[in-house]
């Protein structure tokens, strides 16, 4: 199995505060990679560096390289907008566009990027909603507001919205932290299914969730990559004492 993303000596700053220090790791294709660590360890910053969202924060800085299929997304001639079309993102709190219907939310990425062919949009909307396992629940009311759905449904709508632009990688930033356990379990199941076709990188502060959904786990502490390996190994037999302490709940 090949590597989809290679992170090489990645460092990131907010102003003068360094939040990531020299991270190097390779992310495998069509698997789920989880990033865990205590609050403020830089895990969210790390995935925001993968689709060049980090640099949107004022005074943020990034050095190092992130290779997507071998090409550096930080090289001079790469437009961050095209990077973001290949790497979708799902956020901590479900954030459907409040003024848009379920249909328009799903189609938003395409519509805003100029796709107007109704027939094509219809097809992609259905496909994406099905892939997000939301279709059966909303197919009769696609015109309703996205905000009228339950939290878990909204998050699946956001996943459908991300899938609609047909990305290769999906980044998820604590996608279930605002959801109840049942809705969260559904998202977790969905993540496993998505991994059949996409490379998924998920940030979570819930270690058990990382254990459940991921194939590989990276443990980040104070901006450094402490340990990275098979999820099974990290949770059964971590190599670093720090990892052991974190996952057994001694700190964090």
């Amino acid at each position: 199995m090949s590597y989809k993303i290679e992170i090489q000596s990645l460092s990131a700053w907010f102003g003068s505060k360094q939040v990531l220090q020299d991270i190097t790791m390779k992310i495998k294709e069509n698997l789920v990679t989880a990033i865990i660590g205590p609050s403020g360890c830089g895990k969210t910053t790390l995935i925001r560096c993968l689709n060049r969202m980090h640099e949107l924060t004022p005074r943020a800085k990034v050095t190092g390289r992130v290779l997507l299929d071998g090409e550096d997304i930080y090289s001079e001639n790469v437009d961050p907008v095209t990077v973001r079309r290949r790497i979708g993102m799902v956020f901590q709190k479900p954030n459907p566009f409040p003024m848009m219907s379920i249909y328009d939310n799903t189609a938003a990425g395409l519509k805003l990027n100029g796709v107007a062919d109704k027939h094509r949009l219809d097809g992609i909307v259905e496909k994406s909603l099905r892939a997000a396992h939301l279709w059966d629940e909303v197919k009769l009311e696609l015109g309703k507001s996205g905000a009228s759905l339950s939290g878990g449904q909204q998050q699946r709508l956001c996943i459908a919205r991300a899938l609609a632009i047909e990305p290769e990688v999906i980044l998820m930033d604590e996608p279930t932290s605002a959801l109840d356990p049942t809705a969260a379990a559904k998202i977790e199941q969905l993540i496993r299914i998505l991994a059949e076709n996409y490379t998924v990188v998920i940030v979570t502060h819930n270690m058990q969730q990382a254990a459940r959904v991921s194939d590989f786990t990276a443990f980040l502490y104070l901006g450094k990559l402490v340990e990275y390996g098979l999820t099974k190994d990290i949770f059964e037999n971590p190599k670093s004492e720090l990892t052991e302490k974190y996952i057994t709940g001694e700190f964090g």
Binding site: M53, L56, R84, M89, F91, N95, M99, R161
Partner: protein
């Protein structure tokens, strides 16, 4: 600890106090409405709405040109002021950290508080002296009044749009400018519309800048570079007239119509920008 009954009494007193304050605040508001409707309604007739303005003290005639003038000047001012205000607001909200933005924001706040008569003088010196008393001069003066209000409310409205909504669009590979113009503006159009309304309502009633720019007229609109009538001017003139019995009812009628126009604009804009999904 104080007894329960004392705390309950305290609670009731505070509520009554707030209630009384509200009533006091409502008294002038309601009495203005009652007075204006009471006195203005009887003055309103077709001829008042449609006929040219008579010389002071004369019977007959109406305030048609004043209504027309106000609509034209306000519309023209809005056409100039709203886009500039909205885009400035977008700029301030998008680049809120930049130095230029903070200077611009400060100047904008100063401009909001410039007395309207000063704007009138400005309009008079810069435009009237060059092209004469005119609709354009009035519209420019009013537009200058509008811009800071629209700018400020637009900026505030955009700032209220959660960053997560903006990030959602950017993460979909939508360019930043497009994100702002589509997703952000559409989620905040109610806030921006409120700002525009405030500004339009404010300038519709302005008298001072108009005195120095459009001069006033008794006749129908005759070109953008000509003086014109306007409701606030008509109200001012009629109310200052020595012929009370003939002109005072006209002043009330004109006031009622001005209030009605502002109300109508309010309702229309609210209808257009109503939220599809409450």
């Amino acid at each position: 600890m104080r007894s329960y009954s004392f705390r309950k009494l305290e609670d009731r007193m505070m509520i009554s106090l707030a209630y009384a304050a509200l009533i006091i605040a409502l008294i002038p508001l309601i009495s203005i409405l009652v007075e204006t409707v009471g006195r203005g309604l009887s003055a309103i007739s077709f001829s008042l709405l449609l006929e040219e303005i008579p010389p002071l003290g004369q019977p007959g005639g109406g305030i048609g040109p004043a209504i027309q003038g106000t609509l034209i000047v306000v519309a023209l001012a809005s056409i100039m002021g709203i886009p500039i205000g909205v885009f400035s607001g977008i700029y301030l909200a998008e680049f809120r950290q930049s130095r230029f933005a903070s200077v611009a924001r400060f100047l904008n706040d100063v401009l909001t508080n410039v007395p309207s008569i000063a704007l009138g003088i400005f309009g008079w010196t810069l435009i009237v002296v060059v092209i004469g008393w005119s609709v354009i001069a009035g519209a420019i003066a009013l537009a200058i009044m509008m811009i800071p209000i629209v700018t400020r409310t637009t900026e505030e409205a955009i700032k209220l749009v959660p960053i997560t909504i903006r990030e959602a669009a950017i993460a979909l590979g939508v360019p930043q400018w497009k994100t702002t113009l589509t997703v952000v503006l559409s989620s905040t159009k109610k806030g921006i519309a409120t700002g525009i309304l405030l500004a339009v309502a404010r300038i519709s009633g302005e008298t001072a800048p108009l005195l120095l720019t459009i001069l006033g007229s008794r006749f129908w609109f005759s070109g953008f570079t000509q003086p014109t009538a306007a409701l606030p001017l008509a109200i001012f003139n009629f109310s200052q007239s020595p012929f009370r019995t003939a002109d005072l009812p006209r002043a009330w009628g004109a006031s009622l119509i001005l209030i009605f126009i502002v109300l109508a604009i309010n309702i229309i804009v609210r209808y257009i920008t109503r939220e599809k999904y409450g």
